[in-house]
Symmetry: C2
Subunit: 195 residues, 2 copies
């Protein structure tokens, strides 16, 4: 396996930026299917795949979403063609007979609330990383957000279900003229060790 070409590295990570200003260009449902069909292959613990995605595109959907947001996130979310609710299914283990069929993996989780929560949050967030890079791989820009009321959003979108919100991510075609200079990152020696 060779090293991914520089242009691809730039597209998914090095030059990809968090966008808050969106061009007036719609995102087709087809693109959302393609993002999922790419991200779904990402690895998760015992193939649990707990992430769930709600793509909010309609006027009605946005109206339900906007009151859940922190004030600073309202305008950019209103302007984004799509806002993805990156959620997780707290009953993910019910799918294990399909996803991990050779053993009874369901029994590793059923009834174990702390393990369920930890596994859903860790692997659902890991899949959030796959989702963001898959969206960029499909040529879209991303604006992820944690600034919202999870409980209020869950009541509005997930009442009576086992799904729970993790974070939000605006999707569309960002306006590059509205970007600010990029923030620094930690150096290797601040974040890593080789032992």
């Amino acid at each position: 396996m060779s090293v991914l070409d520089t242009e691809a590295q730039h597209q998914i990570l090095i030059k990809a930026r968090t966008h808050s200003a969106w061009l007036n260009k719609p995102v087709a449902d087809e693109a959302l299917h393609r993002i999922y069909d790419l991200m779904k292959w990402g690895q998760t613990s015992a193939n649990t795949s707990p992430a769930r995605l709600v793509f909010v595109k309609s006027k009605e959907g946005k109206e339900k979403l906007l009151p859940c947001l922190a004030p600073g996130n309202v305008d950019k979310t209103k302007a984004a063609p799509v806002t993805a609710i990156v959620a997780m299914d707290t009953a993910f283990y019910e799918k294990l007979p399909k996803l991990f069929p050779h053993v009874d993996a369901r029994s590793w989780f059923a009834g174990k609330a702390a393990l369920i929560e930890e596994t859903a949050f860790r692997n659902g967030s890991l899949q959030g990383g796959y989702f963001i890079l898959a969206a960029r791989a499909m040529g879209l820009d991303c604006g992820p957000m944690s600034g919202f009321d999870n409980a209020k959003l869950d009541a509005a979108f997930f009442a009576g279900t086992t799904w729970k919100s993790n974070f939000l991510c605006n999707l569309g075609y960002g306006d590059p003229t509205k970007l600010h200079p990029r923030f620094p990152r930690l150096d290797f020696n601040e974040a890593c060790r080789i032992v």
Copy 2:
């Protein structure tokens, strides 16, 4: 921005597999630096970047690590050229004057234990997703694992520090002849909705 070419999509997600059997081929420190220098650009909430990486390569490091593992993970970890401890810094907010310099973002977190834990775990896991795809972009194979004793590992590697383990990931060149058939994934309609 165009769609990433098919070969690149295959390399980072579609054809990338979880490896447990490793070729006897070392991984240079230089490759570990390149992985970090790619993954570090991934987005996190307020640029918090809480993930920390310990690349365990030495005999001494492996000897410290192996007793922390679930029995099923010992042999493959012993054989892997590198095992990354994907950790998170629970004092990540101390770096915010560098990472998010235009406001006092440190004060959003300092002293708020539940918010610190949630932010570190969500964003540290999100960065775990960036890390895995960055490693594949650099031509390496990954074998992530949750099966280990986090408290024991933290005592062995992180005593007296603010770092905590999240998950482990073997890195190297996988032996493709030892792969099993791939497990299925959830269909779009099982995992996603457009509203």
